[in-house]
Amino acid sequence: MTFSAKRWREDFPILRPSAKGRWVYLDSAATTQKPEAVLRAVDDYYRRYNANVHRGVYRIAAEATERYEEARQRVARFIGGDPRGLIFTRNTSEAINLVAYAWGLDNLKEGDAILVTAAEHHSNLVPWQLVAKRTGARLRVIPLDEEGHLDLSQLPELLEGVKMVALGHASNVLGTVNPVEEVIRAAHEKGALVLLDAAQSVPRMPVDVKALDCDFLAFSGHKMLAPMGIGVLWGKPEILEKMAPFLGGGEMIGRVEWEGSTWREIPWKFEAGTPNVGGAIGLLAAVDYLEKVGMAAIARREEELGQLMARRLRELPGVVVYGPRGQRTGIVAFNVEGVHPHDVSQILDEEGVAIRAGHHCCQPLHRLLQAGSSCRASVYLYNDEEDVDRLVAAVQKVREVFRVPG
């Protein structure tokens, strides 16, 4: 059975061809487009049973609450986790900050270390810098090898004194998937916890928190077909239970007295105020859609297209492709010699191909790559070989306009 991107594409209103022809979207690592099924689920919520959750006795309030909690169950099942550990946040960034504050402020102190990798997204780096500053803990960095893989040769030494390993699962620049099982095992042996930044893995491969045995996992709905404004932190219930709350407010309380308060049980302890119910319902529909397509099929497909894209781009003279030559995801960062990524992206846009240009929230990694910025093309289930052809042809056009030698 071959994967039919063309068939899936029909479900995405924004991807329908216009009079000018078909537009090619290759920026799904930044945010994905949304299928009709997700848009309808959210619309149906607002047109039929929009209400604040948890406290309403009337019918639509009960229905909204039920669907919201069903979304929690469903998304937890999707990642193989206990739903009591599933907290809805705005996005990956907020999820990581939640842990950095609620776990970090109480569990880090002078002399402790937090271990990250050299390829970390700012969202899995800056929160740890902020909490390090407040607690006196220090950051330590797992280096990369030439191809962008983690260099784990010094891992045991790096783990000395580490309380938290904050680790990207799949890179948003290099197209690598990190050997997180190995790091998790080593970290646990030394008594450190592990948070996985799964913003780029949960959308594009099967992820099972039980099998991985990670302590925390963060991801964003908008990168996996759901609307913006909904994300997830999953944490092991026994760890979450011991943590102080993060945001204070409605819904997360037990008993409120002037002198202090008690908290509701997890996961609600970590959800303050009116949640994004419509967003959670959208994420539920997105997860249904993804399972219909099949996460294993998506992962295989990503790998195929990623390989093809990397190979075809590498064939062009004056084009450098970052990341490994072997196994990879459908996220490919590259540069055209002597042409700034902004200019590449601008010309590609004129050719009807949307890619991202910049540091992709990975300034330290770009310094390592000795590039101020890069171009990034990333595929999703609606892309196919024809889109890769269009990309390559458009990069040729860049070479012509800027007279790139070769």
Partner: protein, 143 residues
């Protein structure tokens, strides 16, 4: 679903004049439980026999809606005099009834609450006292 299922005369009677409402002079176990979403609270007290096998006396106080009050009243009627083991079986039967909506035998007046299962938001109200009882009995460790 109809209101009459929910607000049967028997339920309203129990809610208006609850049985075993008050406190015990010499309780073996005391347990507070609450429904944080609505603020309802129950304080449940049990007096167990010397070997902690039997519920010799029971009382509850606190505040809550008619369903939670009636449910507590019906429950205390039912479990007074039972062994810990029997009482826990009743709790299980009541939970099953809430989940399935099927009336269960051996629940005394509490069978009138079967209709609550059709009002998902209210199930928590009906369960509050029973969950408190379960927790209290488990605390005694007398099973």
């Amino acid at each position: 679903m109809s209101l009459d299922d929910l607000y049967q005369e028997l339920i309203l009677e129990h809610a208006r004049y609850p049985h075993h409402r008050g406190t015990l002079a010499d309780p073996t176990v005391t347990l507070d439980a609450q429904n944080p979403t609505c603020g309802d609270e129950i304080h449940l007290q049990l007096k167990l026999s010397g070997d902690e096998r039997k519920i010799e006396d029971i009382a509850f106080s606190g505040h809550g809606c008619s369903i939670s009050q009636a449910s507590a009243s019906m429950m205390t009627d039912l479990v007074l005099g039972l062994s810990v083991k029997e009482a826990l079986e009743k709790v299980q039967a009541f939970q099953d009834m809430m989940r399935t909506g099927e009336p269960r035998e051996g629940l005394g007046d509490a069978v009138a609450l079967a209709g609550v299962s059709r009002f998902p938001v209210r199930i928590k109200c009906a369960l509050l006292a029973w969950m408190a009882l379960k927790e209290a009995l488990e605390e005694t460790g007398a099973m």
